[in-house]
Amino acid sequence: MTTGLAFPNVARLAERLTSVVGRRFVLLRPSELLVYESDGLPGYHRRPRLAVFPGTREELVAVVGVLAEERAPFVPRGAGTGLSGGALGDDVVLLGLNRLTRIISLDAANRLAVVEPGVVNVKLTAAAAEHGLHYAPDPSSQTVCTIGGNVAENAGGPHCLKYGVTLNHIAAVTVLLPSGEIVTLGNAAGEDEGYDLLGAFVGSEGCFGVALDVTVRLAPNPEAVRTLLADFGDVLHAATAVSSIIASGIVPAALELMDGPTVQAVEASIYAAGYPVDAAAVLLIEVDGAAAGLDDDVSVIEQLCRQAGARHVRTAADAAERARLWQGRKKSFGAMGRLAPHLIVQDAVVPRTRLPEVLAEIGRIGARHGVRVLNVFHAGDGNLHPNIPYDASDADQARRVHAAMSEIMHACVAAGGTITGEHGVGLDKIDYMPLIFSDASLDAMCRLRDVFDPERRANPGKVVPVRSCREWHVTPAARHGGSPA
């Protein structure tokens, strides 16, 4: 719907793709395509014309070559866990990368690994474990999400507070451009010279091409880890504790806030982690690194929490207790899934000193619209995740939820924040882009995209509103899909 290109003849395209990957890996029937109409965010349904799943690097190159020759718009997709409506599209070829799961090499001495885009995030860490290494970015979906998807979204996770987001862990990417050409961005063997095209590619949400392989940096496992749980009778006290920990100069590995409703949802689920159900908020705080001095940091953090009004602060006694505390946090979205048929997981960032007031404002917005907001988020980064369970089939509820989410976004921007910290813009945030970027800035982004994909065939209609692209001239006829199959 948003590409200006007429979709090529589907039968011919399917035939050509089948000759590359085999009949099993080209899906055409609506019933088969159903699962690819949505991603991890409810509320968006887009119908691809077909889906293709190359199984090798060579097949992927050949598939993208066919798409280029046929001038077919396509949407790359990993595990489909994205939360921005990014990995879907009407009248496109859905390019599934989840069969490309090889870890091509692992160089422990240099802490580098070369992986295919479909490698699942935790499997990389598992492969690195025997060398005392791990892959640091740890989105909550890490047991299923792929490195290729992580690269496309510049994904985050709790431990990004200390270790940085995906981009900080990518040394190089071999990119297959939408034209079918191959180019290496970045440099694993030394410094990179010239424009940071790797930095531009990571987080480009599939609009600049697909990764053939990714060279990731691995991080050494810390010598020691301490995980604390602090519980508060008032969510604003917890937010104040976050600000004072950040201001102290200690950089925790993670600093997560869960509010009372989230804690209750987790504790009522199979992921119960032993959080205090009467808490208005808990902080899950982790420090790691050299064993020396770590307990001094723990003491300072405990003291800061108590000063901010914490009722209790405890440190996990062993690895098992630590894992349990983390499971509650990482599965909290799953636990919320029990509350209603649908869950909107929102993503925004505010300056860390503004957390108390923004949380209070979010509470007021939820109350005004009669929706239930559950907050679980990367507090140390100011990266909010206000979530609303609801029933999308109830039109009135859906309307109130969307109104509340829109007001929350405006409140975060008004506080000096941004509209997404780690989930990406996709379809969901595209209308918010003009809130934070001028027409000139959005136009500059369009121009950048056009360098990588002049035909605008890769994930069309995402990230930057089409109307912002000056040279964009689409006739209404072209917009509605072109020739039928």
Partner: protein
């Protein structure tokens, strides 16, 4: 030494980004090329630029917003780093940017050149530290990328693209960068590295993860008053217990002494006014190859100074000469890693891409990016490799 501008070219000195927009729009329309000169401190770096006008950012200076609790600071591009450091120090914080050359240079120049000093080993490269930029493109458009918060994936990344672009996409007019809190203890230890196998040194430093670690050639150690042997300079910081532990680990490497932190400033300012500078880099465990390549170059030039950012695997050779004959060897010797020139005698620049040359697709993308932001190529024409008509 790279050619700089004749003194008689007109100088633009905008006081606001809006003024700069009008000036650059005019330059673009007239085809007037512009040398972005910042505060005029580092014009010897990069390829020679022949431009019809000079752009000074001295008047575009000052802190725009500093909220200590957020550990971020926003300032105009012409603000000297020293001014930012002083403002941050008042709140026991610091800007983890320590470019070669010292703190007299501007924030904008530090970011535009992405020059990475000793702290980049511990705190990250300039690209990792910038949260947002405002820039005026070559055709006078005011563009913003990123924001003022520490995590942000909204839109395509114009921040990373403009940092290290040497002003060729747009003139950075304002930037927001991350700050760090000053550590409770900050200690610098000089260890004799004489006879120490480099491989073992790399492993030890990458395990220790100090704030900075530079290996100094004997001549450089001597220039800094640290004796006349290869010396490892390590900066350890954190709480008292951590620093005590790190001090113990570093001390076990060899003869050592605690030295004043001022040595880092002196290291950054050691480069003479007339010099050629080349960097060799490779995989971390191949530091020895880069070190040897730099040593070979140094042997061809009296008074050469060499140092290595051990954790990053980057070796930097400072050759105190602008005699092409003395520098040619540094560029022509075979080397399997990446060689990047910072400063060269003008006529040697065409040789500097012998290593690390990119393929045609990469060059086409780079050229496309350049033209998307500066269609008339008026900003710093020729300063980057491959930036030719």
């Amino acid at each position: 030494m790279s050619a700089t501008l004749p003194l008689d070219v007109p100088t633009l000195a905008p006081r606001t980004a809006v003024e700069l927009q009008a000036q650059l729009a005019q330059c673009a329309a007239a085809g007037t090329s512009v040398r972005v000169a910042g505060r005029g401190t580092w014009l010897h770096a990069g390829r020679p630029v022949h431009a019809a006008a000079r752009l000074s950012l001295t008047a575009l200076s000052g802190i725009v917003e500093y909220v200590p609790g957020d550990l971020t600071i926003t300032a105009r591009a012409g603000t000297p780093l020293a001014e930012l450091q002083a403002a941050a120090a008042a709140h026991r914080q610091f800007v983890p940017l320590d470019p070669w050359g010292g703190d007299a240079g501007s924030l904008g120049a530090t970011l535009a050149t992405a020059t990475a000093g000793p702290w980049s080993s511990g705190y990250g490269l300039p690209r990792d530290l910038v949260l947002g930029v405002e820039l005026v493109t070559g055709d006078g458009r005011l563009v913003r990328g990123g924001g003022r918060v520490v995590k942000n994936v909204a839109g395509f990344d114009l921040v990373r693209l403009s940092v290290g672009a040497w002003g060729t996409l747009g003139v950075i007019t304002e930037a927001t960068v991350r700050l760090r809190a000053l550590p409770e203890v900050d200690e610098t230890i000089a260890v004799s590295a004489w006879g120490m196998p480099l491989d073992a040194l790399v492993v030890a430093i990458r395990r220790l993860q100090p704030a900075a670690a530079e290996l100094l050639s004997p001549a450089l150690a001597a220039a800094l008053g640290l004796g006349d042997a290869e010396t490892l300079l390590v900066r350890v910081s954190g709480n008292a217990a951590l620093v005590a532990h790190q001090r113990g680990t570093v001390s076990a490497l060899g003869d050592h002494a605690v030295v004043p932190a001022d040595v880092w400033r002196r290291l950054r300012e050691v480069e003479p006014a007339v010099a050629s500078v080349v960097r060799w880099s490779h995989l971390p465990d191949r530091l020895a190859e880069s070190w040897q390549a730099a040593q070979r170059a140094a042997h061809l030039c009296d008074g050469a100074l060499v140092h290595a950012s051990v954790a990053r695997g980057v070796v930097r050779g400072i050759l105190p000469t602008d005699d092409p004959a003395a520098v040619r060897g540094a560029l022509d010797a075979p080397f399997g890693g990446t060689r990047i020139a910072e400063r060269l005698p003008g006529e040697l620049w065409p040789r500097s891409t012998a290593s690390g040359a990119r393929d045609a697709v990469h060059e086409r993308l780079s050229r496309g990016v350049r033209l998307a932001f500066d269609p008339g190529r008026v900003l710093n024409p020729g300063i980057l490799s491959g930036d030719v008509t």
